[in-house]
Structure formats: structure tokens, C-alpha cells
Symmetry: C2
Subunit: 348 residues, 2 copies
């Protein structure tokens, strides 16, 4: 991997490659986000899709946490819902209310309204964002690309908005299984091309977010989530390491350890030792700090980081949160988290 | 238990007492609710608190599913948020938006605004509802009382409204632990008196709902949820059987199996066999049908009920959903669920 060698800080890629490193790498989901005052300046000036679709803005936002917090990786600023939009479904981002898809998929007939697009046409702004960011990063740290997993994307495409349990989306799967599977395959095909394009444009590795997999039972996870994550992981891992994060789906860790992912994300609702037991010893784990704990006093944060690393061990492990960083976390607390990993994560 | 003997259908109480029964008992969380057209008539006519605080209305609503669906137990119509209201915090129920507590608890000083009330004064309408319902039930099936668990009630008292992850409430616990523990103890003391009053007024058993326990890590569950459920369960089980349902907190099943509860609820995100393994063989399990599956075609529902019962076994088991029934479930599907348990749950 020529990119990996050129990087000044290649801790993340080494760990994803199964190597032992001098210390545990650390980044934070949603590290380019609302907790940073520098991000808020741009958020208040430009709409969500302006920020995502303008490569200069996306690049600037992506670099902010590298400069300010000192994470060991950058993750491209974007959103998982660019995929349904590229497939032809209108996506609105309503400030402070979340996403809205005003014409969701409800039946077989609705599939006619969407396509598996040419990602180089419909998502060319992402290629431009990644190329520019890769250049501006100047090999300081690796660049992570990402996409939503098919089940999670289906949740939004069917439910039409955020939800606590995505019951309508699940009912769609259970009552129209053939249509649901067609939709999942369309999303999968789009996502594979999309992630491959991200890698060609400069992403050193990619993460697949199955943020809503945890609303499924273990049996349903095997039907509605796993087969599509598997296809993506097996295809895309030929080009770059893949991290799979199926939030809440602890019961799927064993199966997911067998699908050519380089790492599995875990949230804070599973104990590190049990996650390791389920996933086995041949895969890297990533996580699992409770994001709300970044609102604790700094000495508490340091303590909890220490405990987390004692539980995961310092090899085959990437320190991260168990979900995105919360908007009201003080910057000093985010930095304390990263600094604590850098201090306690050294391998002697 | 003299009440149990007078009951025409005492399957539920027998199972809670550890006895083998001729078939598996079945009820549904939120069985008195929006999926029933008969309930909607009353919902459209009276406000939420009118329905809860008027014993005649609460009784009528509680009996509806017994007459229409044929469940093996009635659960008193009410809401877990009557407790914060009785403690002195304003609770509004905004139709189609959920609860709103306009002056939530944010600091130690805010505890001065609440008390551990005399439940016979502040919640006397619940005593009246239960007495009337017990009488009107005429011993057809047992009557279940209920309350929210202290951590879940704290979530609403601090966050002030519903949330996907109750991050503010958790941050309150992590950053003001002494205040949080005082609040949890006040809720616990209120809840014990409240459940004891429910039993004195006619409840044959009670369920404690820790609906948001699953937002905690396993370690935090032991700090913020378990000790308070334990106090309640140990005190109240002296008077009647206690069912504890900590949604999402599968990692707490082993500890919860040791706190004098007669049964533990489980949601659909844990496999029945693993739940049994964690909880051991000396406790009844209740659950765990995915509520969204009630939107599947009826033959599918029957299939899934069969699978569920094969996995749980027919002893020490109460068939139920893994969470409340959804508003848009057809009545015929709810009835098909109950009928399938009655058909496949017979012990030969």
C-alpha cells in the first residue's frame, strides 16, 4: 500500500492491516461536526447540502478536527443520505429536525422512481471532495470514506424521516419481502460503486454505517442487514480496508467477523470482552466510548478511557466513540478524550 | 393467594408463581391502546389525563382488549409519567408528539421543586381505577399494575421529553452523580408506595418498565438502573409478583434474575435461548415478539409465534410483544397473535 507508506501517521491503516503499532489510534465518529465552533461558523452560513456538495467547504470541515483535536484520521464530511438522493429520491435536511424524504418508497411501484445511478455522475462532488481533501491533508493522517449500509438506507427511504424504531420500514420488509430485497440490492449496488469511487478519489479506507441494524432481531439481521453488508465488504475490501459498524447489532458480531471486514465497530452497550469473544481474535475492534460520557468532568473522561483500553487491550483496537460525538460537548473534553488515548494507549 | 384461586383464568399468576400450566399465558404491552377503534373513540373525546384520571374511563379502556382480543390478563390503563407529576413536576401530553415536562430537573437546586408524595393523596385516582377495574373484571383474568423504573423516570424528568438516546439525562447522571442518585432514590421511594397501593387496590401483580435502561452500558446499568429496580422488586414482591422489563438491557439479565422478580421481560433483540442462558432456569421470561411483525400477513404472524414458542419453551414463559403494540396494527392481526399463542402454547 503505497499511500500507507507515504503517510506521516499511519497508525490506523497499520491496525486495519492487522499489524501491531506503537500506540492505539483514535478518531471520533462525527468528529467534523457541531461541537466545533469553527464548524458552526460554516453551518450558520451555508445549508447542509451546500456544505456537503461544495468540495472546498467539505474539505475545510474535514480538516478542522485534525488541526484542532489531533485525531489520527480524517473522515470525509458528508452524509449517508447522499445515496438515496443519487438514486433519485428527494432528501431534505431540515435544520434541527433531521432528514425528510417527502416521497418515500412504500410499494413495488415506487421502485420505478429510483435507479442505480452512475455514481461518477450523480456523486461526482464526493470524488472532488475526497481528492481535494487528500491533497490538503498532505499525508498527515489517513482519510476515511464512508457510506450507510443498505438496511439503514432502506430505513430512511421507506420511513421518510428519522424514527426511534423504524417500525414502518421494518413492516415494509416483513410484509413486502421481495420488494424490500430488490430495494436493498439496488442500494447495495450503488454503495459498492460509491465506495470504490471514494477509494479511487483518495479514501485510504472506508466505514460502512449500519446505524439502525439494532432495531432488528438476530434472525432478521441475518435476512435484512448481513447479506448486503457482506456483499459490500467482500467487494470493496479488495481495494481498501473496510470498517463495518452495525450499531446495536451485537448479536451479529460473530457473523460479521467472517465477511472480509478489517474492523468491526461496537457501541457502549456491549462489554469489550464479550465483543471480543463474539468477534474472535482475528479482527480489529473499534469503539466504544459512550458519547454522553464526554460531558463528564475531564478527570472522569480520562478514567473511563483508561478502563476502556484495559478492557479492549492495545492491539487490534481503534479507540473511538460508540456513536457520533454530541453537539454540546466542550472542545476541551473532546481533546481530553483523544489525548487520553494517546497517553494511555502507548505500547511499551 | 386467595385472589388467584378466585380467578377463572389464572394462567398468568400460576406461571409467575413458578407453576406449570396447561398452556402459555399471553398479553400484549399497550394492549389497551390506539390500535383499537373502541379506544380511539374515547381518545378523540377525552384528553390523555382525562382518560387516565377518570376511573370509569380508565376501567372501560382496560377492559377493551379482554373483550375484543381475549388476552389472559388486563393491565390498568395509565402512564408511567403519573409518577413525576405526583412528585410535583408538570407533565403535558402533547397529542401525536409525546410527553413534555416544561420545567425539567437540571441541578441539585431543582430537587427542591419535587417531593416524595403521599401516593394515596396524589395518585388516589389510580387506586380508584384499579378497584373499579378489579370489580368490573369479575375475576375473568388477573389485573396487572405498573410503574416506570426509576432510571426511565429520571430520563424524562431530566430530558423533559422523549429522545432517541436520552443523552442529556445520562450526562446529568455522569456529571452530577450525587444529585442523580438523590433523584433516583426519591423516585424509588415514591414508586414502592405507588405499587404497594396498586396491589392493595386490586392489582394481582405488577410490572416495572425500565423502557430506557438500554441506553446505558453494562457498567452504568449496574450504577443507575439496577440498584433501584432491585429495591422496588425486593420490597414489592413481598405483596405480589413483580415482572421487571428493562428494554434493551440484555446485559443485565443475569443480575436481574437475582432481585426477587418473578419474571423478566425481554425484547426481540436477544435470542430466547441466550436470554434463558443469562437469566438461568429459576425465573419466568416474558416476551419477545417484534411489534413490527404484527404488520406481517397473518400466516407469517402464526409462523413467527410458533418459532418464538419453540425457542422459549412452554413453561416459565409468558408470551408477549418485545415492546408496546403499534397504533396501526389491524385488530385481526393482534387477535391472530393471541390466538396463535393459545393454539400453539398448549402443554400436552
Amino acid at each position: 500500500m503505497s499511500t500507507a507508506k507515504a503517510l506521516k501517521n499511519n497508525l490506523l491503516l497499520k491496525v486495519l492491516n492487522g499489524e501491531h503499532t506503537e500506540r492505539v489510534p483514535v478518531w471520533m465518529m462525527r468528529q467534523a461536526g457541531r461541537y466545533l465552533p469553527e464548524y458552526m461558523v460554516l453551518k450558520n452560513k451555508y445549508s447542509f447540502f451546500e456544505r456537503v456538495k461544495n468540495p472546498e467547504l467539505a474539505c475545510e470541515i474535514t480538516l478542522q478536527p485534525i488541526d484542532i483535536i489531533g485525531t489520527d484520521a480524517a473522515i470525509i464530511f458528508s452524509d449517508i443520505l447522499v445515496v438515496p438522493e443519487a438514486m433519485g429520491l428527494e432528501v431534505q435536511m431540515v435544520e434541527n429536525k433531521g432528514p425528510l424524504l417527502p416521497s418515500p418508497i412504500k410499494s413495488e411501484n415506487d421502485l420505478k422512481r429510483i435507479t442505480v445511478p452512475d455514481v461518477k455522475d450523480k456523486l461526482n462532488y464526493m470524488a472532488a471532495s475526497l481528492s481535494l481533501t487528500k491533497k490538503e491533508l498532505n499525508n498527515r493522517v489517513p482519510l476515511i470514506g464512508f457510506a450507510g449500509a443498505p438496511f439503514t438506507i432502506l430505513c430512511y427511504m421507506v420511513q421518510g424521516k428519522g424514527s426511534k424504531g423504524f417500525e414502518e420500514a421494518k413492516a415494509f420488509c416483513y410484509s413486502q419481502p421481495d420488494t424490500a430485497k430488490k430495494l436493498l440490492q439496488m442500494i447495495t449496488d450503488t454503495t459498492i460503486s460509491y465506495l470504490e469511487m471514494q477509494i479511487e478519489s483518495g479514501a485510504d479506507c472506508v466505514q460502512v454505517f449500519d446505524s439502525w441494524a439494532g432495531v432488528l432481531s438476530a434472525d432478521d439481521f441475518k435476512i435484512w442487514a448481513l447479506p448486503y453488508i457482506k456483499q459490500i465488504s467482500e467487494r470493496v475490501s479488495a481495494k481498501a480496508p473496510v470498517i463495518v459498524f452495525a450499531k446495536g447489532a451485537w448479536y451479529g458480531l460473530e457473523e460479521m467477523s467472517k465477511i472480509k471486514a478489517s474492523a468491526l465497530g461496537v457501541d457502549w452497550c456491549i462489554e469489550p470482552k464479550f465483543a471480543r469473544q463474539l468477534a474472535g481474535n482475528n479482527i480489529t475492534l473499534q469503539g466504544n466510548f459512550d458519547p454522553s460520557k464526554l460531558l463528564s468532568p475531564i478527570p472522569e473522561i480520562r478514567n473511563e478511557v483508561k478502563k476502556m483500553m484495559a478492557a479492549f487491550g492495545k492491539h487490534h483496537y481503534i479507540a473511538n466513540l460508540g456513536h457520533g460525538i454530541l453537539p454540546h460537548v466542550p472542545v476541551s473534553h473532546a481533546k481530553a478524550f483523544v489525548d487520553a488515548v494517546k497517553e494511555f494507549g502507548v505500547n511499551s
